[in-house]
């Protein structure tokens, strides 16, 4: 048994370790829940993985997203080492946070014989009221401009974020549309999005393509993480039904006026 009175060096060591732990916990509490400290060259999946370590009901949650494209671009999602059937209709899917999903875009405008393989990474979730989760998915829109730039050899990074209502743009937004702006090549889109709202997804286009002979391998699809194919919300299920309210009886009776002579 070690006596602390006889071992002042041990006491000093305990004090130093305790002070280090305290400083670490204090710095962790003061660290803002922001993502913009990550540069735009962050490896895929790292931002979402960091979000999982920050706590909250995010582990194991399948965040509803909807993939949509313009015109005749078809969308396929990697699944079990293969691709789902290409479709031009919006694809409703539930994605895990912190995972990277590989998609395939075909029938590109002006390049019908080429394909684009974007990646989607969900880095935060939404908190809709129960029952309307599929009605408010995160919209991932692949427009012609992004695809054209990716086919031309550019790297396109698009960060989807939830607008802060206090900083919202007064302009209207039609269903199916998404307001966006260009941050510039020298700006970190994650940082810009974090200033304007809360980033929830990162979409990257351009870069790697699968081997033409061997085809897409398992590593190219990031191990094909699990995702759920959601049924598109119908108009009937999208209606929010209001519960019945029983009118409460009033307990205060109006004061009668004073009698006049």
């Amino acid at each position: 048994m070690i006596s602390l009175h006889r071992s002042p060096s041990i006491v000093l060591l305990i004090i130093v370790v305790a002070a280090g732990i305290e400083a670490t916990s204090a710095s962790a509490q003061q660290a803002p829940a922001a993502h913009y400290r990550w540069p735009s060259q962050t490896p895929l999946g790292q931002v979402g993985s960091e979000r999982l370590t920050q706590g909250g009901p995010v582990v194991g949650y399948f965040q509803p997203v909807v993939f949509s494209s313009s015109q005749e671009i078809t969308i396929s999602v990697a699944r079990d080492g293969d691709w789902t059937d290409a479709t031009t209709q919006p694809v409703y899917a539930g994605l895990l946070l912190g995972q990277t999903y590989r998609l395939k875009l075909s029938h590109l405008p002006l390049h019908p014989d080429r394909e684009c393989y974007p990646t989607v990474e969900v880095i935060d979730r939404t908190y809709p009221p129960p029952g309307v989760e599929r009605r408010f998915p995160i919209p991932i829109v692949f427009n012609d401009d992004d695809v054209r730039l990716a086919v031309d050899g550019k790297f396109v990074t698009r960060v989807v974020y939830i607008e802060d209502p206090q900083q919202a743009i007064p302009g209207g937004q039609q269903p199916g549309e998404q307001l966006w702006h260009d941050a510039g090549s020298h700006a970190n889109p994650l940082e810009v999005a974090d200033r304007l709202g809360r980033p929830v997804a990162i979409v990257r286009l351009g870069g790697r393509v699968p081997d033409e002979k061997q085809g897409p391998d398992y590593a190219f699809q990031f191990g094909c993480p699990k995702w759920l194919l959601l049924i598109p919300p119908t108009s009937a299920s999208a209606v929010v039904t209001a519960p019945k309210v029983i009118p409460t009886p009033r307990t205060r009776r109006p004061t009668p006026p004073a009698e006049t002579n």
């Binding site: 396109v156 209502p165 937004q173 941050a183 889109p189 929010v240 009776r253 006026p257 009698e259």
Partner: protein, 396 residues
């Protein structure tokens, strides 16, 4: 005389109340005798209630009458339901508020109405009603806050282009000898350690900042001896005690006295009665001085409630809001004005404003590039009566 039998007699009685109660102050309930504060030129004025407006939800507006206010089956239930923030059980908050649109209440700076009816402090998302009472006061009553789940997604794009790299990696300057540079240079001290001295006096704390609690043993020290004289004791020798004037030189001593006073206000503090009525402290007991007031009579109170037609909406959807106001006091209220400053993402649908009572409706642009809605109720509101105003918004 029956209470509900003769309405004309009731109005006569109500009209006589200000003459009997406060003869020195003219009654302010002569409707629309004052001109409201001028609005911007771009406002739109619409008179509601003269013609039955087209109902929004397919049924006529419920005209709340006095006879049906309390009776069973007379008051029609509201067609909408009030919603609150999303609080799933078992999971701690706070939840991200960026997914909800807030409207209603009186956040940040409180709304105040000047004697000229000029409203100040009406921020975006605020919804209040101000009214006049029989004794000439103008009161402001905020509504509850409504929440609509309507997240709007946007995106930021960045495009990076690869540039061909022509740099050839290889050994470079490998034969260049490397030797230590200025090895024999002796560095001199570039920092002078000066003895720090105080550069200024610390600010003395006000008595109100002393919140230090004391134990029971200290309480016993504050007990007066049994042979106390009716003269100022040593700790009472303060200007604020003798003359009521607060001197800066006595702050330190006053702070000590305030600490003792805090101890006394725990259980055995001074009880103040004004006109045989228990008074409540108005400015807190954490300082040496305190203001005691009596509870105001509830002679004029307006309750206003705001509800939304849906709890979730997407951009492009329509949301209908209903404001229900009731006179829950015991005297008539007049000059009722309902104000609603819409948030940025709510776009007012022109022509959708309705009122169950005759009212003038006006709109005015606000700082959020939306509109500030204003209803001026023409009629006085009898005790127990109420009304409803409605409008429709499009979610941007």
């Amino acid at each position: 005389m029956s209470y509900f039998a003769n309405r004309r007699a009731l109005l006569v009685v109500i009209a006589m109340i200000p003459a009997c109660a406060a003869p020195q102050t003219p009654p302010k309930l002569a409707m629309n005798t004052k001109q409201p504060a001028p609005l911007a030129e771009s406002r739109q004025v619409q008179v509601l209630g003269e013609k039955p407006a087209k109902p929004i939800v397919g049924q006529p507006l419920p005209i709340l009458q006095r006879e049906g206010y309390e009776g069973p089956g007379c008051a029609p239930p509201l067609p909408f339901v009030a919603y609150g923030p999303f609080n799933p059980p078992g999971i701690k908050g706070p939840w991200p508020s960026d997914e909800y649109l807030h409207d209603g209440g009186d956040a940040e700076e409180p709304v105040a109405v000047s004697p000229e009816w000029r409203v100040q402090g009406l921020n975006v998302e605020d919804t209040v009603a101000h009214y006049d009472t029989l004794d000439g006061r103008t009161k402001v009553e905020p509504t509850n806050c409504t929440y609509v789940y309507a997240p709007r997604f946007s995106s930021v794009r960045s495009v990076v282009t690869l540039v061909s790299n022509d740099f050839v990696d290889g050994p470079n300057n490998m034969s260049k000898p490397v030797r230590p540079g200025r090895f024999d240079e002796r560095e001199v001290a570039r920092t002078n350690i000066e003895q720090l001295q105080p550069i200024g006096a610390a600010k003395s704390l006000r008595p109100g900042l002393y919140h230090r609690d004391q134990s029971d043993k200290v309480m016993s020290l504050a007990l007066l001896p049994s042979n106390a004289q009716y003269t100022l004791l040593r700790f009472e020798d303060l200007s604020v005690i003798r003359t009521g004037a607060m001197l800066g030189a006595e702050k330190a001593r006053l702070a000590e006295a305030a600490d003792a006073a805090i101890v006394w206000t725990k259980d055995t503090g001074v009880r103040v009665f004004i006109s045989k009525e228990r008074a409540v402290v108005q400015t807190g007991d954490q300082r040496a001085q305190a203001i005691y007031t009596v509870k105001e009579p509830e002679n004029g109170r307006l309750r206003i409630c705001k509800i939304a037609s849906t709890a979730a909406a997407q951009p492009g959807d329509f949301v209908e809001f209903t404001l229900r106001y009731d006179n829950v006091g015991d005297q008539v209220l007049g000059n009722i004005v309902i104000l609603d400053s819409l948030t940025t993402r709510l776009e007012f649908v022109p022509g959708s404003a309705q009122s169950s009572r005759k009212a003038h409706f006006m709109t005015n642009p606000n700082v959020a590039e939306s509109l500030e809605l204003r209803w001026e109720i023409d009629e006085a509101l009898l005790p127990g009566d109420g009304g409803i105003v409605r409008f429709r918004c499009k979610v941007r």
